[in-house]
């Protein structure tokens, strides 16, 4: 398969970036999208040009490091996957593929397609934990957790923190991410004691960092590689309301 790639190149955080067009020939349809970029980079190195920088690590859809806004969609034109799980068979021969970094005020570009997502870590540091020190925990089966609660909690905990929700949202809102974290703990009895403080602090941090507001377009849900539901956002709204008035 042959492709025309239009890729955002930006030397560093301060530099002005631009789109650069590359042509790539004879790519196997079984190739993953990032392997296709590897092939491009191999060619660039041969031409003594700097390779395209993009975040990648596990390449099996779990570390959440890969990103990329491909032809108008975070993680590209397929559902429930990360970019590393996207395969070229999802494109047509001769396609023009536009690759952009994720855009949001709290996600500044570091270089080319690599963005800084440490804003997410800052939110977690505000309250995305249960304050338990190592040692001294009761027997694991001393805490009975209904299967349904455990499953719902796991649904939310499956979030990989990739930031596709922010990238997809027209407002660059981080509500799906934050609500997934809030829900994960709010649904478990262990998480209840700190629930009010947690949601208040995490939401305050989210606002402070400059993420947008949720306007319920639900684009985040569509693009989430782990299919996290917007019902987690409703749960966070509920938790937040309760934290304020309860």
């Amino acid at each position: 398969m042959d492709f025309t790639l239009k890729i955002w190149r930006q030397k560093n955080a301060k530099a002005k970036g631009k789109f650069v067009t590359y042509n790539l020939k004879d790519v196997s349809s079984n190739c993953s999208f990032l392997e296709m970029l590897d092939i491009l980079n191999e060619q660039l190195v041969h031409q003594n040009e700097e390779p395209v920088v993009f975040d990648t690590d596990c390449r099996e859809g779990i570390c959440g490091l890969c990103s990329l806004y491909i032809n108008g969609r975070p993680h590209g034109p397929d559902d429930a996957i990360t970019t590393c799980q996207l395969h070229m068979r999802k494109f047509k021969d001769g396609d023009i593929i536009v690759v952009e970094p994720w855009r949001a005020r709290p996600f500044p570009v570091i270089k080319d397609l690599m963005v800084d997502r440490t804003a997410f870590d800052a939110i977690i540091q505000e309250g995305g934990f249960i304050s338990v020190n190592t040692g001294g925990a009761p027997d694991a089966n001393a805490i009975i957790i209904p299967k349904e609660a455990a499953e719902l909690s796991m649904d939310a905990a499956a979030c990989i923190g990739c930031g596709a929700c922010v990238a997809a949202c027209k407002n660059a809102s981080a509500m799906l991410f934050v609500s997934a974290k809030v829900s994960h703990f709010a649904l478990l009895p262990q998480g209840k004691p700190e629930a009010k403080e947690r949601v208040r602090k995490m939401v305050a941090k989210m606002d402070e960092l400059g993420f947008g507001n949720c306007t319920n377009t639900f684009a985040c849900e569509v693009e989430c590689p782990k299919l996290i539901s917007v019902s987690t956002i409703a749960r966070m709204n509920r938790e937040f309301l309760w934290a304020k008035i309860g």
Binding site: N171, N213, A219, I233, N237
Partner: protein, 221 residues
């Protein structure tokens, strides 16, 4: 005025937005009820209702809340939107192709259109009531403006009628997204009642605007 709402957290603003929105939706039903009196040849029902609305003290209190509600809803909406625009300083080259309902993304614009309509509407009726503007038609014997005739006079102008219908359709679009979104913002999202909320929202956003549109159409015929 207390501007502390500017510092509200994003979710607090959203909660206010939806509470006010739902309140305004209730008002729309009430307003429609009165408007439907216009369908009678006899003006007394409509004028009596208008008179009641204009003089009753309970209603007067509610009027303040209603105006406050409108202003607050609009202000918070604008504040939210300004922040949303700022949260993505560099925009994408390719427009998002994520599959989401079309109108959900244009609430600020439909809202702005509804706001313009609201201003025109207030000028046409409320300003007369306040005496800021001369009534285009003679007043009632009791000295109150004859809104029945004002309404009929306005709808006799094709330009105004068309504008009115367009505005009401835009309002419908605004409402279409609002209903479910309001419940979502208030934290009400559960598979056991989501479909009911959604159905009710669709019915509401079609039936109410249809009711409003019915009146000029009726006059045209």
């Amino acid at each position: 005025m207390n501007f502390s709402f500017l510092r509200f957290s994003s979710i607090t603003k959203k909660i206010w937005m939806s509470l006010l929105g739902l309140f305004l939706m209730v008002f729309l039903i009430l307003h429609l009820g009165i408007n439907l009196c216009l369908l009678r040849k006899d003006p007394t029902w409509f004028n009596d209702a208008a008179y009641f609305m204009g003089t009753n003290y309970v209603i007067k209190v509610f009027e303040v809340i209603l105006f406050g509600g409108f202003i607050f809803h609009i202000l918070v909406g604008i504040i939210l939107q300004l922040r949303n625009w700022r949260s993505r300083p560099v925009r994408y080259k390719i427009n998002p192709r994520t599959d989401t309902p079309f109108f959900t993304k244009y609430m600020i614009y439909t809202g702005a259109v509804v706001f313009i309509f609201l201003v025109i509407h207030l000028m046409n009726f409320y300003f007369i009531k306040l005496g800021w503007k001369e009534s285009p038609v003679p007043s009632l014997p009791n000295g109150h403006p004859d809104f029945y005739v004002v309404a009929r006079w306005l709808f006799s102008q094709p330009f105004y009628t068309v504008l009115y219908i367009v505005f009401i359709i835009v309002l419908g679009v605004h409402l279409y997204h609002s209903f479910r979104a309001a419940f979502q913002s208030l934290g009400l999202n559960h598979k056991s009642y989501n479909s009911s909320i959604e159905t009710f929202g669709i019915v509401y956003s079609i039936v109410i605007p249809l009711g409003y549109i019915l009146i000029p159409i009726y006059y045209l015929i």
